[in-house]
Each structure stands twice: as C-alpha cells, then as structure tokens.
C-alpha cells in the first residue's frame, strides 16, 4: 500500500484537478447537447420533408461516427477549411454533436409514448400544433426518457477521456493515468484510483437519475 500513499502524496492534487476537469467537460457538453437534441427532435416533427431529411442525415452521421474520428477531423482537418477551433472547445463540440444525436433519438422514443388521443384532444381545444408539442407532448416525452438520458450522461462522462488525444491544456483522469504510467511505476495504483473515481461518479449520476425518474415518471 506504500505505492498508493506515495501516489496520493505526489499526485493527489492532480487527481482532484483531473476529476474536476472531467466533470466540467461532462456538464459543458451535456447541457448544450441535450438542448440541441431536443430542438432537433422537435424540428423533425414538422411536416417539411427537406428539413426532416436533413435532420435525419444529421442524426445518422453523429450517431455512427466514432468520436475520435470526429475530434481529429475538428482539430486537424477543419483548420484547412479556415476554421480553427481551440482544443478545449473542440472536445466540447465533438461531445455536444454526438450527445445531441443520441438525445434526438431518445426524445423521439419518448414522444412516441404520448397517446395520440391526447393530441387530438388538444387540437380539438383549438391549440396550435406548436403549442401542442411544447405543452403536451414534450413534457411527457422528457419525463419518459429520464433513464436512457441518465445512461447517456454517464457515457458522456466516460467519453471525456477523448481529451487525452489532443494537446489539451490540463489533464483529465485518463490523460493523468497515462502520464503517471509513462513516468513512474505507479500505473496500477493510478488506474485503480481513476477507475474508482469514474465508477463513483457514474454511480452518483445513476442514483440521481433513478431518484429523478421515480419522481417524474408517468404511470399509465
């Protein structure tokens, strides 16, 4: 156990910073990604075939492209198109795009759980379709997909390990473990600690998600 205590002595603060960076990236990508995904899901409902087609292509692209490939494209290829984005925003952008594609899909399944009769009733009350979507469909849809969105948030947190693949200012947990493993023999202890931090964060999110789901789920 001398390994572990030495590790904490040398790298304790670094682990704290790395954990903070991981969380920061997670939240910075989830919030815009989630909002963008909801917007995409709603827009796909509109009866405009060109728009639906374009958004379907968008979702399929960002669901199927490997995140690393997307990140490398943004960091290394976009500048050749005269779009130079700094490293941290590039990582966030990659995660936002991927998150929005999956969110759009999950929200869609949530929308499908809303009974058609409710919509007909709302329309017959004189509500306009857009109001029906925002007041009737969306609230119920979001309440129905808390569980997959929780999984998505956990997956997003794990995906922040991507940041280790570009010259990122600062190290998140995975990059820190790689550096410690390269520079010293404490790789195993570092991995154990980082894994513990990841798993703990994931369980925390899962617990929060389960609690939220119990509170807002719709029993039919």
């Amino acid at each position: 156990m001398g390994d572990a205590s030495r590790l904490l002595a040398d790298y304790g603060p670094a682990f704290g910073q790395a954990l903070f960076l991981t969380w920061k990236l997670t939240l910075a990508s989830f919030v815009p990604g989630f909002l963008l995904g909801v917007v995409v899901a709603v827009l796909r409902l509109l009866p405009l075939p060109p728009l639906r087609f374009a958004l379907t292509v968008y979702v399929e692209i960002f669901r199927n492209i490997p995140s690393v490939a997307l990140l490398i494209f943004i960091v290394f290829a976009l500048p050749d198109l005269n779009v130079v984005i700094d490293y941290e925003p590039s990582v966030v952008l990659t995660l936002v795009l991927v998150c929005s594609a999956f969110t759009a899909d999950y929200v869609r399944t949530g929308i499908n759980t809303v009974d058609g009769g409710q919509i007909e009733a709302a329309l017959s009350l004189g509500m306009r379709p857009i109001t029906v979507i925002t007041s009737v469909v969306l609230p119920q849809a979001l309440r129905a997909v808390v569980q997959p969105m929780t999984s998505l948030l956990i997956a997003l947190m794990l995906s922040t390990s991507l940041a280790s693949q570009v010259p990122f200012p600062g190290r998140e947990l995975t990059a820190l473990v790689a550096k410690i493993a390269n520079d010293s023999a404490a790789g195993m202890a570092a991995f154990a600690l980082a894994a513990a931090l990841y798993v703990a964060s994931g369980l925390l999110i899962a617990w929060a998600g389960a609690t939220l789901e119990k509170k807002v789920r719709i029993l039919r």
């Binding site: 290394f76 500048p79 050749d80 130079v84 010259p167 390269n182």
Partner: protein, 300 residues
C-alpha cells in the same frame, strides 16, 4: 461505365485551380536507387548470427518485428502503391533485416509514435525501433540504444510571413509546437522556458499546426526542418541557425539486449563500406539540396 472510370471522371470534375499554398510534396525519393542500394547490402554469415541471441531469435522467427513510422517524408514514408517504406530510417531497417535474414522485405511493421516507442519495446511488441529516436538518459533507463547512427541539432521553423521570431530567443510567450516524447520539450525547457509548448504525436501533425496557425513556431530536429524547406514553396523559413546540443539518433532495443553489440557492429560495417553515405545522399542529401555528406557519429 466501370467504377474506376466513374471515380476518375468524378475526381477530374472536382479539380479546380488550387489557391493557397500547402507545404506541398517536393522531391520524391529516387525509388530505384533506394531499392538498388538496399538490395546490395551485406548479409551476415551464420557464425555472426549464432553469436548473438537477439539476432538468432529473429532468424528463427523468420521476420524482424520493426517499430517505425510510415509518415515521415525524409526518414520513412510508406508508398501505399507498392507497400514499401523508403527513407533514411527505412533504409537502415531494411539493411539490418537483409543482414540478418538475407531478405530486406521480411519485416513485420508496427507504427509507433513518440509516446509509444519505449512501451512497444518493453512489451516485446517489436524487436527494435528505428524512428528518429533520440538517445536520452531518461529513455536509456527503460530501454537500450544501439548507435548513434545520425546526429542533428534543433531548429526553429516559422511561417515565411513571420518577422517576429528570428531565433529561439524570441520564443517567449509564443505558442510553440514540438513532438511529444521527443527531445523537443527538454530543449525548449532549456532554451526557451517561457514558450507555451504544445506537444503533438507526429511530425506531420506539428507541421500542420504551424501551417494552420495554431502555433507560431515548430521546434524539432534540424534535418526534418530542412526537408520542409527543400520543398521550395516559400511557405516556411528557418528562424536562426540550428542550436542546442547535437541530438544523437539511436536504434531502440529491449533493455540489456545483446542486440546492441550486434547492431553496432552492423552500423560500423555499413559506415565503413560507404553504404551509410550513399543512403544519406539518396534519402536526405538529394532532397534537401545538401551536398556535403556528414560524417557518421562515433559509436561507443
């Protein structure tokens, strides 16, 4: 219409006049001369190989597992059309393979980067690493080096339009690219401690970062920079003369391996019979416009 012709016409239809400069290709290597040089390389006799466990193991396996690069213009670039890598490092690797196995093509290649070079030797994923690998004491703790087979100082590369940086002394507070795991970070720490360093995994990525304006300068081995300049498109220039200590390139081998003695004997052989000089001329000299063949460094 067959698919290739459809592809060709589609591609031709897309061709428009290029505008920007692109740090373009440059004198390609004389493939015929390179292949001929490798084909006439020495082959070790059975006694020499039997005397070295490292070489015997390779001979028994029938292939040499090489860790190298396929994307370095001067030192080892893979031509995907014929599947052969050519360059200074590639040439040496093929000559060593021919020396042990009699056939320069019996190579099992693994692409390594500056951050994976030591680990692949430690993990026994490869038999040796030839990849512009600078000998440093820190690395020598994890692995062993044969050679040196080449030396180079560091240089600073900037865009042609950059007048602010005239030498390594002007790098304070500037964004400088270097290769991760190379001697670049240490050199910068010593000569330009106030520079903002960004580390990249490969030479190509660092070069692209300079071209794309992500960094103001690129510090790496002088020879690599000469190659960029030899392309003559005027996009980049050297800022100041080469500086720093002579950086020795070595051949990475597993720690404590007897292959070190074996490879050193091989290096002395090819340096004595002029193969080293010819290889340098074909892969570096003719392509950077340098005619003075350097003397190979002394091997301890």
């Amino acid at each position: 219409m067959s698919i290739p012709s459809v592809l060709k016409s589609a591609v031709a239809a897309l061709a428009l006049v290029a505008s920007g400069s692109l740090f373009a290709q440059g004198t390609p290597i004389n493939a015929a001369a390179f292949d001929a040089l490798v084909a006439q390389g020495p082959v070790a006799d059975a006694a020499t190989i039997a005397a070295s466990p490292w070489a015997s193991k390779i001979k028994q396996a029938g292939t040499l597992r090489l860790g190298g690069t396929q994307t370095s213009n001067l030192f080892s670039l893979l031509n995907e059309k014929d599947g052969k890598a050519r360059g200074f490092d590639a040439g040496l690797a093929q000559l060593i393979t021919r020396y042990i196995l009699g056939d320069a093509s019996k190579v099992q290649f693994t692409q390594v980067t500056s951050s994976t070079r030591e680990q692949v030797l430690i993990n026994n994923q490869v038999d040796m690493v030839l990849a512009t690998y600078s000998i440093t004491p820190a690395r020598a703790e994890k692995i062993s080096f044969a050679g040196p087979y080449y030396t180079s100082q560091a240089g600073v590369l900037v865009k042609a339009s950059n007048t602010a940086i005239k030498s390594y002394t002007d790098l304070a507070d500037k964004k400088v690219a270097t290769q991760a795991g190379s001697t670049g970070p240490a050199i910068l720490a010593q000569y330009a401690p106030k520079a903002v360093v960004q580390e990249f995994q490969t030479h190509q990525e660092a070069l692209d970062a300079l071209r794309q304006g992500r960094v103001d300068a690129y510090v790496t081995d002088y020879t690599l920079l000469l190659n960029v300049l030899s392309l003559g498109t005027g996009d980049a220039k050297l800022a100041g003369a080469p500086f720093g200590a002579q950086d020795p390139y070595g051949i990475g081998l597993p720690k404590g391996s007897d292959g070190v003695a074996f490879v050193n004997a091989f290096l002395k052989k090819v340096e004595a019979d002029g193969t080293w000089a010819k290889l340098w001329t074909i892969s570096i000299g003719q392509r950077t416009g340098s005619t003075a063949v350097p003397t190979p460094p002394a091997i301890p």
